[in-house]
Protein backbone atom coordinates (compact mmCIF):
# COMPACT_ATOMS: atom_id res chain seq x y z
CA UNK A 1 0.00 0.00 0.00
CA UNK A 2 1.51 3.30 -1.10
CA UNK A 3 0.49 6.45 0.72
CA UNK A 4 0.69 10.09 -0.20
CA UNK A 5 -0.39 13.27 1.49
CA UNK A 6 -1.88 16.05 -0.59
CA UNK A 7 -2.51 19.51 0.82
CA UNK A 8 -5.30 21.25 -1.08
CA UNK A 9 -6.27 24.90 -0.58
CA UNK A 10 -10.00 24.23 -0.54
CA UNK A 11 -12.53 23.25 2.10
CA UNK A 12 -13.14 19.59 2.75
CA UNK A 13 -16.62 19.52 1.21
CA UNK A 14 -15.23 20.93 -2.05
CA UNK A 15 -12.47 18.36 -2.16
CA UNK A 16 -14.99 15.60 -1.51
CA UNK A 17 -17.24 17.01 -4.24
CA UNK A 18 -14.33 16.93 -6.69
CA UNK A 19 -13.38 13.37 -5.79
CA UNK A 20 -16.95 12.18 -6.24
CA UNK A 21 -17.48 14.05 -9.50
CA UNK A 22 -16.29 10.99 -11.42
CA UNK A 23 -16.95 12.22 -14.99
CA UNK A 24 -14.60 15.16 -14.26
CA UNK A 25 -11.70 12.74 -13.65
CA UNK A 26 -10.76 12.90 -17.32
CA UNK A 27 -10.23 16.65 -16.89
CA UNK A 28 -7.69 16.38 -14.11
CA UNK A 29 -6.54 12.83 -13.28
CA UNK A 30 -3.31 12.28 -15.25
CA UNK A 31 -3.83 9.75 -18.01
CA UNK A 32 -7.58 9.38 -17.45
CA UNK A 33 -9.28 9.16 -20.83
CA UNK A 34 -12.70 8.24 -19.63
CA UNK A 35 -14.66 7.85 -16.40
CA UNK A 36 -18.32 7.02 -16.85
CA UNK A 37 -20.76 6.35 -14.04
CA UNK A 38 -22.47 3.05 -14.80
CA UNK A 39 -24.72 2.93 -11.75
CA UNK A 40 -25.20 4.80 -8.54
CA UNK A 41 -26.83 3.88 -5.23
CA UNK A 42 -26.59 6.25 -2.28
CA UNK A 43 -22.92 7.00 -1.72
CA UNK A 44 -21.81 4.07 -3.83
CA UNK A 45 -21.05 4.43 -7.54
CA UNK A 46 -19.86 1.96 -10.14
CA UNK A 47 -17.73 3.49 -12.85
CA UNK A 48 -15.95 2.40 -15.99
CA UNK A 49 -12.53 3.97 -16.27
CA UNK A 50 -9.95 4.07 -19.05
CA UNK A 51 -6.43 5.15 -18.16
CA UNK A 52 -3.61 5.56 -20.62
CA UNK A 53 -0.31 5.32 -18.91
CA UNK A 54 2.47 2.93 -19.93
CA UNK A 55 -0.35 0.94 -21.47
CA UNK A 56 -4.06 1.46 -21.92
CA UNK A 57 -5.93 0.10 -18.93
CA UNK A 58 -9.67 -0.38 -18.76
CA UNK A 59 -11.31 -1.27 -15.49
CA UNK A 60 -14.55 -1.07 -13.55
CA UNK A 61 -14.15 0.72 -10.23
CA UNK A 62 -16.62 0.87 -7.36
CA UNK A 63 -16.44 4.02 -5.22
CA UNK A 64 -17.97 4.07 -1.76
CA UNK A 65 -17.96 7.36 0.07
CA UNK A 66 -18.56 8.69 3.53
CA UNK A 67 -19.47 12.28 2.66
CA UNK A 68 -16.84 14.73 3.77
CA UNK A 69 -14.77 11.99 5.40
CA UNK A 70 -13.42 9.42 3.02
CA UNK A 71 -13.81 7.71 -0.31
CA UNK A 72 -12.89 4.07 -0.84
CA UNK A 73 -12.45 2.54 -4.27
CA UNK A 74 -11.68 -0.88 -5.62
CA UNK A 75 -11.59 -2.61 -8.93
CA UNK A 76 -14.65 -4.74 -9.61
CA UNK A 77 -13.87 -5.81 -13.14
CA UNK A 78 -11.13 -5.59 -15.73
CA UNK A 79 -8.46 -7.74 -17.31
CA UNK A 80 -5.50 -5.40 -17.31
CA UNK A 81 -4.84 -5.40 -13.57
CA UNK A 82 -5.18 -8.04 -10.91
CA UNK A 83 -6.13 -5.60 -8.16
CA UNK A 84 -6.59 -1.86 -7.78
CA UNK A 85 -7.87 -0.45 -4.50
CA UNK A 86 -7.40 2.53 -2.28
CA UNK A 87 -8.79 5.29 -0.13
CA UNK A 88 -8.88 9.04 0.09
CA UNK A 89 -9.20 10.24 3.68
CA UNK A 90 -9.94 13.91 4.24
CA UNK A 91 -8.83 15.98 7.22
CA UNK A 92 -9.10 19.69 7.95
CA UNK A 93 -5.70 21.33 7.67
CA UNK A 94 -4.30 22.58 10.97
CA UNK A 95 -3.76 26.05 9.49
CA UNK A 96 -7.53 26.24 8.94
CA UNK A 97 -7.09 27.04 5.27
CA UNK A 98 -7.65 23.82 3.43
CA UNK A 99 -7.83 20.08 3.41
CA UNK A 100 -5.23 17.39 3.85
CA UNK A 101 -5.96 14.34 1.72
CA UNK A 102 -4.32 11.08 2.69
CA UNK A 103 -4.33 8.90 -0.38
CA UNK A 104 -3.66 5.18 -0.26
CA UNK A 105 -3.34 3.01 -3.31
CA UNK A 106 -2.53 -0.64 -3.88
CA UNK A 107 -1.98 -1.96 -7.36
CA UNK A 108 -1.31 -5.54 -8.33
CA UNK A 109 -0.35 -5.70 -11.97
CA UNK A 110 -0.43 -9.49 -11.94
CA UNK A 111 2.72 -9.81 -14.01
CA UNK A 112 6.35 -10.63 -13.35
CA UNK A 113 7.25 -7.05 -12.54
CA UNK A 114 9.27 -6.47 -9.35
CA UNK A 115 7.20 -4.97 -6.54
CA UNK A 116 9.62 -2.08 -6.02
CA UNK A 117 9.06 -1.02 -9.64
CA UNK A 118 5.29 -1.18 -9.29
CA UNK A 119 5.54 0.78 -6.02
CA UNK A 120 7.73 3.39 -7.67
CA UNK A 121 5.27 3.82 -10.54
CA UNK A 122 2.36 3.95 -8.10
CA UNK A 123 4.08 6.61 -6.02
CA UNK A 124 4.78 8.73 -9.08
CA UNK A 125 1.19 8.35 -10.20
CA UNK A 126 -0.06 9.49 -6.79
CA UNK A 127 2.32 12.43 -6.67
CA UNK A 128 1.21 13.50 -10.16
CA UNK A 129 -2.44 13.10 -9.17
CA UNK A 130 -1.86 15.28 -6.10
CA UNK A 131 -0.28 18.02 -8.18
CA UNK A 132 -3.09 17.78 -10.75
CA UNK A 133 -5.75 17.93 -8.03
CA UNK A 134 -4.26 21.07 -6.52
CA UNK A 135 -3.97 22.70 -9.92
CA UNK A 136 -7.50 21.78 -10.93
CA UNK A 137 -8.96 23.04 -7.65
CA UNK A 138 -7.25 26.37 -8.19
CA UNK A 139 -8.41 26.78 -11.76
CA UNK A 140 -11.84 25.19 -11.93
CA UNK A 141 -15.13 26.03 -10.36
CA UNK A 142 -15.86 23.06 -8.17
CA UNK A 143 -19.44 22.09 -7.32
CA UNK A 144 -19.96 22.62 -3.60
CA UNK A 145 -22.67 20.02 -3.03
CA UNK A 146 -21.34 16.64 -1.98
CA UNK A 147 -22.35 13.86 -4.31
Amino acid sequence: MIKAVIHVDAPRHQVYALLTDYPSYREWVPGCEQCNVVSRSGNSSDTQIVISSMKRIELGVRFEGQPGQSLNFRMVNGRDLKAYAGTYRLMDATDGKGTVVIAELEIDVGMMIPKFMVDRMTRKMMDDTGIAMRKYMQSARIPTAAA
Binding site: A4, M91, A93, T94, V100
Partner: protein, 186 residues
Protein backbone atom coordinates in the same frame (compact mmCIF):
# COMPACT_ATOMS: atom_id res chain seq x y z
CA UNK B 1 12.82 -8.52 11.21
CA UNK B 2 13.84 -8.80 7.60
CA UNK B 3 17.30 -8.21 6.19
CA UNK B 4 16.12 -4.91 4.80
CA UNK B 5 15.03 -3.42 8.10
CA UNK B 6 16.89 -2.38 11.22
CA UNK B 7 15.68 -1.51 14.70
CA UNK B 8 17.42 0.82 17.12
CA UNK B 9 16.06 1.31 20.59
CA UNK B 10 16.89 3.28 23.68
CA UNK B 11 15.13 4.14 26.95
CA UNK B 12 15.47 6.89 29.55
CA UNK B 13 13.70 7.77 32.77
CA UNK B 14 12.57 11.39 33.00
CA UNK B 15 11.66 13.34 36.13
CA UNK B 16 8.22 14.36 34.95
CA UNK B 17 4.73 13.03 34.45
CA UNK B 18 3.74 11.17 31.28
CA UNK B 19 1.36 13.98 30.35
CA UNK B 20 4.20 16.48 29.82
CA UNK B 21 6.08 14.03 27.62
CA UNK B 22 2.93 13.30 25.67
CA UNK B 23 2.24 17.01 25.17
CA UNK B 24 5.77 17.61 23.88
CA UNK B 25 5.74 14.58 21.60
CA UNK B 26 2.41 15.51 20.04
CA UNK B 27 3.31 19.17 19.47
CA UNK B 28 4.56 18.79 15.92
CA UNK B 29 5.06 22.51 15.37
CA UNK B 30 7.89 22.64 17.92
CA UNK B 31 9.97 19.58 16.98
CA UNK B 32 12.40 21.80 15.08
CA UNK B 33 13.24 23.46 18.39
CA UNK B 34 14.61 20.33 19.96
CA UNK B 35 14.83 17.20 17.81
CA UNK B 36 18.32 16.91 16.30
CA UNK B 37 18.61 17.30 12.54
CA UNK B 38 15.14 18.72 12.05
CA UNK B 39 15.20 22.14 10.40
CA UNK B 40 11.46 22.67 10.16
CA UNK B 41 8.42 20.95 11.55
CA UNK B 42 4.77 21.60 10.91
CA UNK B 43 1.50 20.01 11.89
CA UNK B 44 -0.59 19.56 8.74
CA UNK B 45 -3.74 18.04 10.19
CA UNK B 46 -5.01 16.61 13.44
CA UNK B 47 -8.17 14.69 14.15
CA UNK B 48 -8.73 12.63 17.27
CA UNK B 49 -5.78 10.31 17.78
CA UNK B 50 -4.48 10.78 14.27
CA UNK B 51 -2.20 13.56 13.04
CA UNK B 52 -0.25 14.35 9.91
CA UNK B 53 2.97 16.35 10.17
CA UNK B 54 5.74 17.46 7.85
CA UNK B 55 9.44 17.61 8.74
CA UNK B 56 12.36 19.04 6.85
CA UNK B 57 16.00 18.07 7.29
CA UNK B 58 18.67 20.77 7.32
CA UNK B 59 20.88 21.48 4.29
CA UNK B 60 22.40 19.97 2.26
CA UNK B 61 19.68 17.32 2.18
CA UNK B 62 16.73 19.63 2.86
CA UNK B 63 14.65 16.53 2.40
CA UNK B 64 10.99 16.92 3.30
CA UNK B 65 8.98 14.03 4.54
CA UNK B 66 5.51 13.54 5.90
CA UNK B 67 4.60 11.39 8.86
CA UNK B 68 1.33 9.86 9.86
CA UNK B 69 1.03 9.85 13.65
CA UNK B 70 -1.14 7.73 15.89
CA UNK B 71 -1.48 8.70 19.54
CA UNK B 72 -2.55 6.90 22.67
CA UNK B 73 -2.92 9.59 25.30
CA UNK B 74 -0.02 9.67 27.77
CA UNK B 75 1.15 6.24 26.58
CA UNK B 76 2.34 6.12 23.02
CA UNK B 77 3.15 8.21 19.98
CA UNK B 78 3.72 6.27 16.79
CA UNK B 79 4.96 7.74 13.50
CA UNK B 80 4.98 6.13 10.11
CA UNK B 81 6.75 7.90 7.31
CA UNK B 82 4.81 8.61 4.15
CA UNK B 83 6.99 9.21 1.15
CA UNK B 84 10.36 10.91 1.30
CA UNK B 85 13.73 9.25 0.96
CA UNK B 86 14.70 8.97 4.60
CA UNK B 87 15.68 5.44 5.55
CA UNK B 88 13.19 5.23 8.41
CA UNK B 89 9.79 3.65 8.24
CA UNK B 90 8.49 3.83 11.80
CA UNK B 91 9.24 5.63 15.06
CA UNK B 92 7.58 4.61 18.29
CA UNK B 93 7.74 6.62 21.50
CA UNK B 94 6.38 4.58 24.40
CA UNK B 95 5.72 6.38 27.68
CA UNK B 96 5.31 4.46 30.92
CA UNK B 97 4.98 5.72 34.50
CA UNK B 98 8.07 4.94 36.54
CA UNK B 99 7.19 5.85 40.09
CA UNK B 100 5.82 9.10 41.47
CA UNK B 101 6.64 12.01 39.13
CA UNK B 102 8.83 9.88 36.87
CA UNK B 103 8.25 8.39 33.45
CA UNK B 104 10.21 6.09 31.22
CA UNK B 105 10.33 6.77 27.51
CA UNK B 106 11.40 4.04 25.13
CA UNK B 107 12.19 5.14 21.62
CA UNK B 108 12.27 2.48 18.91
CA UNK B 109 13.28 3.48 15.40
CA UNK B 110 12.57 1.06 12.61
CA UNK B 111 14.78 1.74 9.61
CA UNK B 112 14.62 0.49 6.08
CA UNK B 113 17.78 -0.10 4.11
CA UNK B 114 18.12 2.00 0.97
CA UNK B 115 20.90 4.03 -0.62
CA UNK B 116 20.34 6.85 1.84
CA UNK B 117 21.20 4.49 4.70
CA UNK B 118 24.83 5.06 3.73
CA UNK B 119 24.67 8.85 3.89
CA UNK B 120 26.22 9.86 7.26
CA UNK B 121 23.63 12.56 7.95
CA UNK B 122 20.79 10.11 7.45
CA UNK B 123 22.53 7.53 9.60
CA UNK B 124 22.69 10.01 12.48
CA UNK B 125 19.07 11.04 12.02
CA UNK B 126 16.81 9.75 14.75
CA UNK B 127 19.55 8.14 16.77
CA UNK B 128 17.40 7.04 19.74
CA UNK B 129 19.88 7.90 22.51
CA UNK B 130 20.54 11.33 21.02
CA UNK B 131 16.84 12.03 20.58
CA UNK B 132 16.08 11.11 24.19
CA UNK B 133 18.82 13.42 25.39
CA UNK B 134 17.30 16.19 23.29
CA UNK B 135 13.90 15.40 24.77
CA UNK B 136 15.44 15.82 28.22
CA UNK B 137 16.59 19.31 27.25
CA UNK B 138 13.14 20.19 25.95
CA UNK B 139 11.53 18.99 29.18
CA UNK B 140 13.89 21.16 31.19
CA UNK B 141 12.52 24.25 29.44
CA UNK B 142 9.18 23.40 31.06
CA UNK B 143 10.66 22.19 34.35
CA UNK B 144 13.98 24.05 34.83
CA UNK B 145 14.60 22.40 38.20
CA UNK B 146 15.09 18.99 36.63
CA UNK B 147 17.92 20.24 34.44
CA UNK B 148 19.98 20.75 37.58
CA UNK B 149 19.64 17.14 38.62
CA UNK B 150 21.45 16.09 35.47
CA UNK B 151 25.03 15.15 36.18
CA UNK B 152 26.20 17.37 33.33
CA UNK B 153 23.97 20.29 34.32
CA UNK B 154 25.28 23.61 35.61
CA UNK B 155 23.25 26.60 36.67
CA UNK B 156 24.58 29.53 34.64
CA UNK B 157 21.74 31.99 34.77
CA UNK B 158 18.69 32.34 36.96
CA UNK B 159 16.05 35.03 36.67
CA UNK B 160 13.34 35.77 39.18
CA UNK B 161 10.97 38.65 39.77
CA UNK B 162 11.05 40.05 43.33
CA UNK B 163 10.00 43.25 45.16
CA UNK B 164 13.49 44.60 44.44
CA UNK B 165 12.97 44.19 40.71
CA UNK B 166 14.12 41.41 38.43
CA UNK B 167 16.93 39.52 40.15
CA UNK B 168 19.45 37.84 37.94
CA UNK B 169 22.07 35.37 39.15
CA UNK B 170 24.91 34.73 36.74
CA UNK B 171 27.48 32.19 37.83
CA UNK B 172 26.85 32.90 41.53
CA UNK B 173 26.77 36.70 41.26
CA UNK B 174 23.57 38.57 41.95
CA UNK B 175 22.40 41.43 39.72
CA UNK B 176 19.26 43.49 40.14
CA UNK B 177 17.66 44.61 36.91
CA UNK B 178 15.52 47.73 36.99
CA UNK B 179 13.32 49.12 34.22
CA UNK B 180 14.91 51.76 32.09
CA UNK B 181 13.22 55.15 31.83
CA UNK B 182 11.02 55.77 28.80
CA UNK B 183 13.26 58.52 27.39
CA UNK B 184 16.21 56.17 27.10
CA UNK B 185 14.27 53.91 24.75
CA UNK B 186 15.28 53.98 21.10
Amino acid sequence: MSLLTTTKQSATVFDCDPSLLYDILTDYDTYAEWLPLIAQSKSLAKEGDLAIAEFELPPPQKERFVIECIHTKNKMVLWRTIGGKIPISQVEWTIAPSGEGHSQVTLAVLGRVNWNSFVPRYRQFLNPARCLKALQSQISTFLPEIALSSEEGEKILELSETDQGVVCWIRGKKYILKPDSEENHD
